[in-house]
């Protein structure tokens, strides 16, 4: 084959490749990249009114945001929310997976029970939990009343609202993460266990020294998902607390929704969204760096 025809063939393949990619790329640009840039752009402009059109204000929106006590409250809430839901649900998921992988009676039921919340919409999960949190009449208050404890308005008071929301999230998420651990556990060769037994290693040593290190990549994957979920999972707030009382359980994305669609303050929403994108970008960068060391994307 001559050089020219090789070149032609290569160009033809490149053309086909781009044509196949085009539909997906157009949608990705329209609904991911363009909106992301528009968000950043919008965060640099003031809120337009009928009399005063919106104008470029630089980082003023950010300064306003940082000096807003509600912003501080919401960010701290989200940090607490992430700081508790991530480690607790991942730890429970690991325990669940070890149990669901063990030779126990009724393993099928156990697995299904752990996984069930994953199949439910968050809205439905929140409805189910309302029944638990209702003061006086709810399941939790009924149980604590047996021990002579007073009734608590779990969702209605500042001290407990956020933690009640966290409880629902952990319940909803743990079974989902369990699945990934279960998959990883099933790839561990039984010979390792035999070898450990021959060496005289107990169960705890085997789990800690052999199983956990082998699960490290899964943990990484689960953690990244858990971080993302701690930002995007806010559906239950709409049912349980609406972010209240007095912002006590408000999370960052709920705040964005409220700013944009209840108060119509688009610049404020865009500013907060930009900050969320920065955080997610950092998570993405960390994941890419860590995964780069392993041959994951080949």
């Amino acid at each position: 084959m001559s050089n020219a025809s090789v070149d032609l063939e290569r160009r033809r393949i490149a053309l086909y490749g781009w044509m196949l990619l085009a539909p997906a790329l157009i949608l990705l640009i329209t609904f991911a990249f363009l909106p992301a840039f528009e968000t950043i752009w919008a965060s640099l402009y003031s809120k337009g009114t009928i009399r005063r059109p919106s104008q470029f204000v630089g980082f003023e929106n950010y300064l306003t945001l940082f000096s807003d006590p509600a912003f501080k409250k919401v960010v701290i809430n989200n940090l607490i929310y992430a700081g508790i839901t991530i480690p607790v649900s991942v730890a429970i998921a690991l325990g669940m997976a070890l149990w669901a992988n063990a030779q126990i009676v009724g393993r099928g039921f156990v697995r299904a029970a752990y996984f069930t919340p994953t199949m439910l919409p968050m809205i439905a999960a929140a409805n189910l939990w309302l029944f638990f949190y209702t003061p006086d009449l709810g399941v939790i208050d009924r149980i604590t009343a047996l021990f002579g404890l007073p009734s608590v308005n779990w969702l209605g008071q500042q001290e407990t609202a956020l933690y009640s929301v966290i409880g629902v999230t952990i319940w909803k998420e743990a079974g989902f993460y369990m699945i990934f651990y279960l998959a990883a556990l099933q790839t561990i060769s039984p010979e390792l266990r035999e070898a450990a037994t021959v060496e005289g290693a107990g169960r705890w040593t085997y789990t800690r020294r052999v199983v956990l290190p082998l699960l490290a990549p899964t943990t990484m994957f689960v953690l990244v998902n858990a971080v993302i979920n701690s930002v995007k999972l806010i559906d239950h707030l709409f049912i349980l607390t609406k972010g209240g009382p007095d912002n006590a359980s408000k999370l960052v994305l709920y705040w964005v929704w409220e700013m944009a669609f209840a108060y119509f303050d688009m610049p404020a929403a865009a500013t907060m969204t930009t900050l969320i994108l920065v955080v997610l970008g950092v998570v993405a960068a960390i994941q890419f760096v860590v995964l780069e060391r392993r041959v994951h994307y080949r």
Binding site: A14, Y16, G17, W18, L20, L21, P23, A24, L25, L27, L28, F31, A32, F33, P35, A36, T39, I92, M96, W99, A102, G106, A113, Y114, F115, T116, M119, L120, P121, I123, A124, N127, L128, L130, F131, L137, R142, W171, G175, F176, I179, F180, L182, A183, E194, V198, F221, V231, I234, F238, I239, L253, W257, A260, A269, A270, T273, I276, L280, A284
Partner: protein
């Protein structure tokens, strides 16, 4: 030594799991209890639901009240249409893109692939405000297509199918070419059939995800004719004053029933699907 080790192992395997079993069962019971209480509440009168008396009379009244107080058939139809539209869009777009990434060599491909993976982090959920503006600009506000279109070019789907296509032996493709297949023929006759388990897994995960999705549909719908079940359910619960917990439980059970029954029937496939989709 080996012979000595194995009999030692036997009683160990036998005695420990009983403790494990108790722990596993307790956790499982705690985990299903919200659902169990919802079932309990849904089949009892409001008073009976909260009394926890085992002999409280059973009733279907809550389901009747719940069913009559919202346009559920329409919501069910909307959700069904929505997950179908999304799935068709995703399968088409992700197949084409995944094929391009797996089997075509061209400059810029790897950079574009990284950009696609970035979308895993630029979530549609986070861009609600600008995507709402975009959907309105395109005249898609309050349409089923408008709810679905931002999810169609799924980075996750593209990635999964690329991996599946990459593991197809090149010889199969060459054989099909010898028989006169073009690019499209190769894709249709060789790659798509070979990736069938991946398609099934992805489809189950996609349907489950979008059946349950709430925030974005809440934002871009404004009428009964487009609202999916989750949004309908949230509106239903919102009229707190008049609606009691028994009726809310009944409505919740109705909404989760189709997916839930599907899950019970195809439990193994569902869990396998989530596994397959999760292992990268």
């Amino acid at each position: 030594m080996n012979a000595a080790a194995i009999p030692q192992q036997k009683p160990k395997l036998f005695s420990l799991p009983t403790l494990d079993a108790i722990g596993a069962w307790l956790l499982a019971i705690v985990w299903v209890s919200p659902l169990v209480f919802a079932v309990w509440a849904a089949f009892h009168t409001p008073d009976g639901a909260l009394s926890f008396k085992l002999n409280a009379p059973l009733t279907l009244e809550n389901f009747r009240v719940a069913w009559d107080s919202a346009p559920w058939p329409r919501y069910f139809l909307n959700t069904t249409l929505l997950v179908t539209v999304i799935l068709i869009g995703q399968l088409t777009l992700c197949t084409l893109a995944g094929f391009a990434f797996a089997r075509f060599q061209f400059p810029g491909r790897d950079v574009i692939f990284i950009l696609v993976l970035l979308q895993l982090f630029i979530l549609p959920e986070v861009l609600i405000v600008e995507n709402y503006v975009m959907i309105s600009r395109l005249g898609l506000f309050d349409t089923i297509f408008g709810i679905g279109v931002p999810y169609m070019a799924s980075a996750f789907g593209i990635f999964l199918l690329r991996q599946a296509f990459k593991s197809v032996p090149q010889e199969l493709e060459e054989a099909a070419r010898v028989e006169g297949c073009g690019w499209f023929g190769v894709l249709w006759r060789v790659y798509i059939p070979a990736a069938r388990p991946t398609y099934l897994a992805y489809a189950l995960v996609s349907v489950a995800t979008h059946w349950n999705n709430f925030l974005w549909p809440l934002i871009v719908t404004n009428s009964t004719s487009t609202r999916p079940l989750t949004v309908g359910l949230s509106l239903f619960g919102a009229t707190e004053s008049g609606v009691n917990i028994a009726v809310v439980s009944a409505a919740t059970l109705m909404v989760i029933a189709p997916l839930f029954v599907g899950f019970i029937l195809f439990q193994r496939q569902f869990i396998q699907a989530f596994l397959r989709a999760g292992i990268r």
